[in-house]
Symmetry: C3
């Protein structure tokens, strides 16, 4: 299935995009990112128009990047402005594709579709405690997993009780979700009523038991907000420990994805020890619990995430994930019909 | 070429199938095996019907296996009997394919074809000294080799003089085989008359020279009985040292195989030092002598074992191997014509 | 694109072809080479006609090679002369393909096309100082790169200023080439006028500055002569330090190549320390500077060297490389039309 193109994808966290150019695979293409002298981010194909050398290995001088192979120089819009050899002639249309980029709440967003449609107002806000991005704990994982399988995983949190026994699980073995959906938005809400406080909540919640509220919502193409709220039994869900985190999934190739995560909280906010502990538990859960499970499923499915071919059985708990698949299929089909500009 | 399906394949040695589920690739499919509370073996596809998670990583409780991803539980016939989430509804036909299994002489046999045809009487007996499986020395190797190339190798024992110089060779460089065949059975018999006792026979046979008798016979799909008998020159072939061993080849994928071997003998039977020595020599011969040679041949042939495409020259000594290929092709073609149930 | 077949390819340096048979991939086929008792080189397919075992792992006795699998013996023309088993019958046409081979100036040349056309007079002379091959410094690299990308790299020496900053670069950032071409021959000439002496010339040229003359010429299919001459400014180009070296590129597979190089010089000729220093700088330049750059370009291009598909922009400095591509395409097309005997 083609990727959705006319949408914003997260390309990285702001702090990783500096004056040293980096390469990222986005929807199957190597893209180079660097920070311009004015502080904005430039993004363009990471392949010289001449012989396709990786531009990110070249030298950046001001906003001009010089190809490391034969020295062609490009401005930050991807236009070749210097051929250092011979008479210096530059053939017409010697340029690499540049991409619209926008930064918001500490993340860099890239638009791989038609640049004319790239409206920054369409970027989905992150769901952050106190709306203060300065306190976000963030991470970037590269996973050998089709983005659709990662979305399935995140949108069916009944897996927590089995896959995340050592980390996020509340100990209960059954979960019941309520689903809401409107437009290109889906939410699944879970309440684990009067359960033992799971290990992940202990630093923030002193009681041995309580209500464990979770919601996860999805916005196209792969932005998931995940809030976990632990309260005394029957208290209002915002009254206790609140963690708002996010999973932002960007396809790297057809079978692999960037997994950007962030985590914010309302308790022990300025505590680096807690930061470290959370980072450890999150990385463990995502890479040692989720990833091997998804990898085994993907291997069985032949290396991709198409469920229908293999006639997978679906359960009521898959409702959010199936809605998301249907919405994505509709969006992609619509774009294909309109003949979207393909990256 | 498709695999033969309506036949029994060895899936493992009995002692390796326990209460801890294991996964084995059989004819290209991952199969899970475990021992039930009644002592019988259960075999089913190693992929949950829901999202294809590997069931063998789940928990076995009684004869019920719980999927490690979202907790669906299956009985030993592969039928889903519990959905722990929401209202617990289980969609119709939520089950994984189970396979007929039978144990005989210390080996577990699985039938990947039409279950209605799975008659345990069709399992080929192993050829064991004194018919006492309790004294079998056994091993299991996984080889990156098409089963047809392994059968070719075993059915043309003229390779012994070249490939197994350090292990099984009698020192002679020429061998002459007699062939017999009837139905789905082929035998090649070799006599090395009045030769030096090879290293492998020295623990069992005191004389420096003698007659070295070998027969190897094949039963569909990949069961080979191999007897080696060393006698004083011109003595009856059962009068001296007798080793009856077997090679049981089960396709794992199109280009790789399970290689189950056993070895029984009539001399120094209860001697663990000899067991260890035999195990070492067998593993060395199979993995360091046969396997690299077969791997090089398979690589040249493009990763599979089809001889005809490349117009291989055949010799009189290939007669047994060629008969086996023809029988297998006939059996597979017959099955395909009848529209065998495909795993 | 098919390979050019009716031409001589370098298969190795003479000193590496000995009484111990070696295997080399040439145009996608494994070829075995050994030196016969009369001192000439034999070359044949490295796969027994029977079951395709690698002949180079067999025993060489006189000019007869015995297959390591079942003992068939072949003479140096590839004809099977012994079946050691049974009645010794050898089926008609039991032979492996042998190739015309010729040695010249310390290199072994092989002809993978129609043997009737294999005229040693067609072998391209190496370009050697004093025409004395005994003083050649030589090397053999195996590169995971399509030979066409290696030729592009060598025929556009404007890359030196960027890729070889630590080794061959003169420090200048611009280069201007003059091109000559006739028949199946192309030459590019560069003059870096009055430049700083580059590190690679310092052992041979005492002055801090001078003229740095380079020519590189190509002969089909992949023989490149590369002369570097450093003189005092405005002196005759042969008056100072002269290094004549060569790059001989032989396709191993569609995406990988043998890279044979040699180097000769007119100064400090009998100095093993200089030999070692040159060997180090050449290996570093080719494997740590050129190879990663070419590998990145090839990866972007999908693993092969076809420029047209991706609509690469070409510059005036690509003239030599583009002429070479056009000549090769013409030669290959001509050969295909005539129905060249395919290896």
């Amino acid at each position: 299935m083609p990727f959705l193109r006319n949408t914003w994808y997260c390309a990285g966290w702001s702090q990783h995009v500096t004056r040293t150019p980096i390469a990222r695979l986005i929807l199957g293409r190597p893209v180079m990112l660097f920070r311009k002298t004015d502080g904005d981010v430039a993004a363009m194909d990471d392949a010289c128009a001449h012989r396709f050398a990786p531009l990110h290995k070249g030298e950046l001088d001001g906003d001009v990047i010089t190809c490391p192979y034969h020295g062609l120089a490009y401005d930050s819009r991807g236009v070749c402005i210097l051929n250092p050899h011979g008479d210096g002639r530059i053939p017409p249309r010697t340029q690499v594709r540049a991409y619209p980029v926008h930064e918001l709440q500490g993340a860099v967003w890239i638009w791989p579709g038609d640049p004319a449609l790239a409206n920054p107002a369409l970027i989905v806000d992150l769901d952050i405690v106190n709306n203060d991005p300065s306190r976000m704990l963030t991470g970037h994982l590269e996973m050998p997993i089709d983005y659709r399988i990662i979305l399935d995983n995140l949108l069916d949190l009944t897996h927590t009780s089995y896959v995340h026994r050592g980390t996020f699980s509340t100990g209960g073995k059954t979960r019941d979700a309520k689903f809401e959906s409107s437009g290109d938005y889906v939410r699944a809400t879970y309440i684990d009523h009067d359960v033992e406080t799971p290990p992940s909540q202990k630093p923030f919640f002193d009681e041995p038991r309580g209500d464990y509220h979770t919601y996860i919502d999805w916005h196209a193409p792969g932005i998931l907000h995940n809030a976990i709220m632990m309260t005394r039994t029957n208290e209002d869900r915002m009254a206790g420990s609140v963690m708002k985190s996010g999973h932002i999934i960007t396809p790297a190739t057809e079978g692999s994805s960037h997994y950007f995560w962030y985590s914010t909280r309302n308790r022990r906010v300025e505590d680096p020890e807690i930061d470290e502990r959370l980072r450890t538990i999150i990385n463990r859960a995502f890479t040692q619990e989720d990833e091997p499970m998804m990898e085994a499923c993907q291997a069985y499915m032949g290396g991709h995430g198409d469920l229908y071919e293999l006639k997978a059985i679906s359960l009521p708990s898959d409702e959010a994930a199936l809605r998301v698949r249907r919405i994505m299929e509709r969006l992609i089909a619509g774009e294909q019909q309109q003949g979207a500009k393909i990256a």
